[in-house]
Every structure is written in C-alpha cells, then in structure tokens.
C-alpha cells in the first residue's frame, strides 16, 4: 500500500549535526526493516560543521581536520558546510512509494528549491551537470543524497543569511571558484522562519504528504 505519511520535525533552536544524523539513521533503518512506515522530514539549522560525501576528495578541505567539526557521511557529492543562517532539510523517504529513480528524486528536490526561492522573488535555475540550484554562476543551494533499498537520507541546504566566509575553507562541491550566495543578497528582509514554512508547504505539494507530528 502506498504510504505518504511523514513525521515532520522543525526545531527552532540550532541543532548539532550528529544528533540529527543519528535520528535520520533511525528512521531510515526502521523504514528499511519494515518496523515503521513513517517517512521523516527535518527542517532546521546546524552549528558550523563540514560534511564530506563518501566519494569526497580530501583536497577540497582547505584546513586540517581537527580545526573544525568534520563528518564523513553516507551521501553523494563533495564537501559542504553547514552553519546557522542556512536552512537544512533532510528527507527520509521510501522512494518505493514515489518513484524508484534517483535522477527523478534529485530533479524533484531542485524543483522544490527553485519554487521556494521563486516565492521570495528570487530567480534561480539548475545547471546542466551541476546538481544544485544556481543564480547565474553563483550557488545558493546544495544537494546531497544517500539511499539504501530506496530509502533516502540527507537532503539539501539553502543559504538564507549565513556567513559565507565559512565556505572559503573548502572547495564547495569540488568545484573550483564556486561562489556561494545568500537569499538575503537578493531579498534583504528574508527570514529563515518564513523560508522554512514555504519549504514545508512546497514539499507537501510536491510529494503529496500527510504531515503528522510525533
């Protein structure tokens, strides 16, 4: 039976990366083992930390690992950076209930981000061969997904009004000279709480979810 019920969590306080990672893993494991049929969505912010995908090249990290929090995690893509002022969205979804196609899923996520930014009058687009969402040559949102038995983990991050200098310590996504931008560069009054609301609404529209709180 198709199940499109999802638990949603959207803490207002800044969350520690590893706690949320463990939480995602728990939901992913219970979906895989069949213990639960709840999808899980998390929207929030992290303290400054750097994460590496499994295929990441350590050369893209321009500092030594003990200077900052660095996590090597089970997602695709290169190194990225999280921090307050950046909205992180994780989706633990059983794609068997949607479309067992990771390309479809990545394009869907890009669409969610584009729709979100458009509702703040920010025009952005995808770039052929560079997954993520761009404003011209500048990157505003990054995507990294993991998947096991068609149950996804991780998701995407949108720069709302974060300290972009933190990206200078890495080669974001392994793309040299990749400039990052904030939503606030295009819409001064943008508020991360508002962005959160819109992302939630658009995820709801795109995936046709029933949201329940725990």
């Amino acid at each position: 039976m198709i199940n499109r019920t999802s638990i949603i969590k959207q803490p207002d306080k800044i969350s520690f990366f590893y706690d949320v990672y463990k939480l995602q893993k728990e939901y992913q494991d219970s979906l895989i083992s069949g213990k639960s049929n709840m999808n899980f969505i998390w929207l929030g912010e992290h303290q400054l930390c750097y994460t590496l995908g499994r295929g990441s090249n350590m050369d893209n990290l321009l500092f030594s690992e003990d200077e900052q929090d660095v996590f090597k995690i089970d997602r695709g893509g290169e190194v990225t950076c999280h921090m307050p002022g950046q909205l992180v969205t994780y989706l633990v979804l059983d794609l068997s209930n949607f479309n067992k196609d990771l390309n479809w899923y990545l394009r869907k996520i890009e669409k969610i981000i584009i729709k979100t930014l458009r509702s703040f009058n920010i025009n952005c687009s995808t770039k052929d061969g560079f997954t993520g969402v761009w404003i011209g040559e500048r990157k505003i949102a990054s995507i990294g997904i993991g998947c096991k038995r068609w149950v996804t983990i991780h998701g995407f991050s949108i720069n709302v009004n974060c300290k972009l200098e933190n990206f200078n310590k890495i080669v974001p996504c392994g793309i040299e000279d990749c400039q990052m931008v904030n939503m606030s560069d295009y819409n001064k009054n943008v508020d991360i709480k508002e962005v959160k609301k819109i992302v939630k609404k658009i995820i709801h529209e795109e995936f046709n979810f029933n949201f329940v709180s725990e």
């Binding site: 990771l102 390309n103 990545l106 061969g129 000279d177």
Partner: protein, 455 residues
C-alpha cells in the same frame, strides 16, 4: 556456487554507474541485506546490498571505476571454502585492482577494446584480458586524479566527460575545455578522440507524431506502407476519436483565421539540445518551454474568442498534437510550462505521450490547452499550415530544421539550420501585428538564448 553482484540502475536514464567505495573486502562475511558497496549517480549515493548470506569472494571492478548497468561487479559465495577457488579464477583481475604499481604505469593511451564479450566465453584468458584493459583505463583515471590534486592546476570536467575520457583513454589534462571556466565537456573529449560530434536533427526525440517506424527519412530504402485504416475499395467508419477530431476541425470553418510565418535559426538551440538530451530533455519540451515563455510576454496570443468578448485564460497551458496509431489525434497538455523546469517538463511530456497512446489520459489532460503546437519536423517537412482547435486563439505549426544557405547582414553567405514556423490565429482576437511580434520574440529566444529554457 557464486552469486553475482550487478551494477544496479539508480534511475531510468542511467546507463552506467560509478563505484564509490567497497564497504567489504574480498573474504569478508556478508549478511543478507548488508551493504556491500556504494554506487554513485550525480549527487546521490546508493548502497548496494547482498541478496544472500555468504562471503564476498571477488571484487571485479575497483572503487573509482564505472561499469554499465547490469555488469557483474563482484561475486559472493555461500561457503568460506569456495572463496579460494573463486579468487583463483579471478586472480588476474584482483591483482590489477589492488596493485599500487598501476599508479606508476607510463601514461600511455590504452587501446580501446571492444567491450562486448562473447556470450559463452570459450577462452577464459581472453575474457580476463578484456577486463584487464578496462581496469587499465580506469587506473589511468586514478593516476590522473592523484597527479592533478597535488598541484593547483586542477582540471575541471563534467562527470560525463570524465567517464568518456576514462573509457576512451583520453588524457583529460590535454583536452581543451569549451564549457564555463574552461570546463571539459563530453563533446570536448569526443573531439579530442577524433570522433565527430553529432548534432541531432530537430524533432528527433520529440516524436509526438511518429507513426510506425521513426526512420521515415528520404533515403530510407525500405518500402514501408503509409498509414491506412482500411483496404482498397472499402469505406471504413470513423472511430470515436476521428469523429471528435472531425467535429473540431469543422468548427474552425466558422473562424476567420489568418496565417503568419517565420524562419528561425536553430543552431544554438540544436547545440543546447545536444547538451541536455542526455538528461532526458526532449525537443518537444524545449519548444513548449520557448512558446510558453514567449506567450507570457504576449498574453493576446494566449487569448480566445467568446460570446462576451476576448477571453484571457488564467494559465498558459500548451497542448501538443499527437497522432494516434489507430486514427485520430489527441492533444495532451503541458500545464504552466513556465513554472516547471525543463527536465520535469520532459518527463511530464514522456509520461503524457505514453499514457495518451494507452488512452489513459484524464479529460483535463487533453482539453485544457490554451495554445497548441503541432510539430511535423521529424518527417522533414519544410513548412505546413495547421487548423485552429476550437476554444483557443492560435496554433503553431513547426516544420523541420534544415541546413539552409543564408545571406548575412554583412553580405557574407553561410549555412545555418533554419526552421520554419507558421502561426494560425483567430483574427477576431489576435491581429496580424500580435502574431508577428509573438513570432519575432519566439525567434529571438530560440536563436539567442536557448539556455534560458532550462528554468
């Protein structure tokens, strides 16, 4: 006995995948459902699990290499004592995979071997030989990565270009990149390897009206019969769909229509299409997007006649004519293409075509068009004239894009791909100047900035 681990398909469009990491080493015990390796497609990673309890006996493709979907990439055995014999059989491959000496091999261009293996390999050595060649070319890539990451002149290449380079044995460092910031594209690799870069024929891949074989080209020597619903001498009753089309077409006789045409240079569009085609983009989606974006600037051309006056629809919905194999035609609708990215639009279109052929469309999926496209480009027609569907104000007939000798403004002569389009419009609501300025902007969009059609 051994069980094979295959390269999985992570998406319907994926033809090959990259092995990011083996989570198990040869000899390790694996449980059913346990992740054995990680495969990557774009920015998504997929854990590949073992389907039985046993031991990973052999890794046939090393981490970092790419393999076609369905290729055997590893072997699992049920009993520990089988490991040795499997490893013995696959010894050569294993050595190639793990040997560090590989990284110091002279960087000579490996020969491109025919990848096709015999169905029943009679000569085991030969099979091993082929595998070794593959491993050689991938280790070349590894070497390349290792050397470039040490100095600052990193070579930027698209994932597809990297794959091509590794399978063709092209050295990326020597390839001139034509992409943004000198990024190496797949075509650059093809060029460097001396292969022609094929520019697709416009209309290819869109195939809304392909009846029978898709290769209805002039030189086609096969004598396929044209479409017919009956035999000579018979009169065949119209089917329901044909009757409906007849009614719609007849109602256009009460509409004072005019036509206006334009010749559009598609060189840039063709180039752009060539780039996005691999991501599943269809020519129909591109044309629909271009038309919808232009309609947004020309609401008059999206309007229609009603008893009360000029009716302006709330949405821009593009209907596209699709011929049905058993007669009649249907016009599946792409709703609000301006709000859908090109990739999603292409997927929607493929889905609509599939379901319209299977007669599974909901009424609002074929009756809500505000503007219609009819594309006969795939048949090579140079121009044609469409009939206006009732309830709408205009329809655009799109012909084939053909190499044409063009006189340029500076007096020079060149050959460009030219596509003729022809707008049929209801003169009660759309006037000649409306239609003409719409076509002017459509042409300018297609000729000058087709890359903006992505979003």
């Amino acid at each position: 006995m051994s069980h094979e681990i295959f390269m999985p398909a992570l998406s319907s469009t994926m033809t090959e995948g990259k092995i990011v990491e083996w989570l198990k080493n040869p000899g390790d015990k694996v449980e059913r459902g346990e992740s054995v390796l990680v495969v990557e497609s774009d920015k998504a990673d997929m854990d590949v699990e073992s389907f039985q309890d046993g031991y990973l006996a052999a890794v046939l493709m090393p981490a970092g290499s790419t393999a076609p979907v369905g290729e055997t990439i590893g072997l699992i055995v049920e009993n520990q004592d089988e490991i040795a014999s499997i490893q013995e059989q696959n010894k050569v491959k294993q050595v190639e995979v793990s040997s560090d000496a590989q990284l110091e091999l002279p960087n000579k261009k490996p020969e491109i071997k025919e990848e096709k293996q015999k169905e029943v390999p009679q000569n085991n050595e030969q099979e091993v030989e082929i595998k070794r060649e593959k491993v050689l070319s991938t280790s070349n890539e590894i070497q390349f990565n290792a050397s470039t990451s040490n100095n600052s002149s990193r070579v930027i290449a698209s994932p597809r270009a990297k794959k091509l380079a590794s399978t063709m044995g092209v050295e990326l460092a020597k390839v001139h990149g034509s992409g943004p910031h000198g990024r190496i594209q797949a075509d650059d690799v093809l060029k460097a390897n001396g292969q022609p870069v094929s520019i697709p024929w416009i209309g290819e891949g869109s195939s809304p009206a392909s009846i029978g074989t898709p290769h209805i080209q002039a030189e086609s020597k096969s004598e396929t019969l044209g479409n017919s619903f009956g035999n000579p001498g018979e009169t065949v009753q119209f089917n329901t769909l044909q009757k409906a089309v007849n009614k719609n077409m007849e109602s256009s006789l009460n509409v004072p229509c005019f036509r206006v045409g334009y010749s559009i240079n598609t060189d840039k569009l063709d180039n752009f299409y060539k780039k996005v085609k691999q991501n599943g983009v269809t020519m129909t989606a591109l044309l629909v997007k271009a038309v919808a974006k232009t309609l947004k600037k020309h609401p008059q051309v999206n309007s229609s006649f009603s008893e009360n006056g000029i009716s302006y629809p709330e949405n821009i919905n593009i209907a596209v004519a699709v011929a049905m194999e058993d007669g009649g035609l249907i016009t599946p609708v792409l709703k609000e293409p301006c709000n859908t990215d090109l990739f999603e639009l292409s997927r929607e279109w493929k889905d609509l075509v599939k379901r319209s052929r299977a007669k599974q469309l909901e009424p609002d999926e074929y009756s809500t068009g505000t503007f219609t496209l009819s594309n006969l480009g795939m048949f090579g027609v140079d121009r044609f004239d469409a009939i206006l569907p009732p309830g709408t104000g205009a329809i655009l007939a799109i012909a084939s894009s053909k190499p044409t000798v063009v006189a340029n403004n500076d007096g020079s002569i060149s050959v460009k791909k030219i596509m003729q389009v022809n707008l049929t419009a209801d003169h009660r609501v759309i006037y000649g100047a409306d239609g003409a300025s719409f076509l002017k902007d459509l042409s300018s969009l297609i000729e000058n900035e087709p890359e903006t059609l992505v979003a």
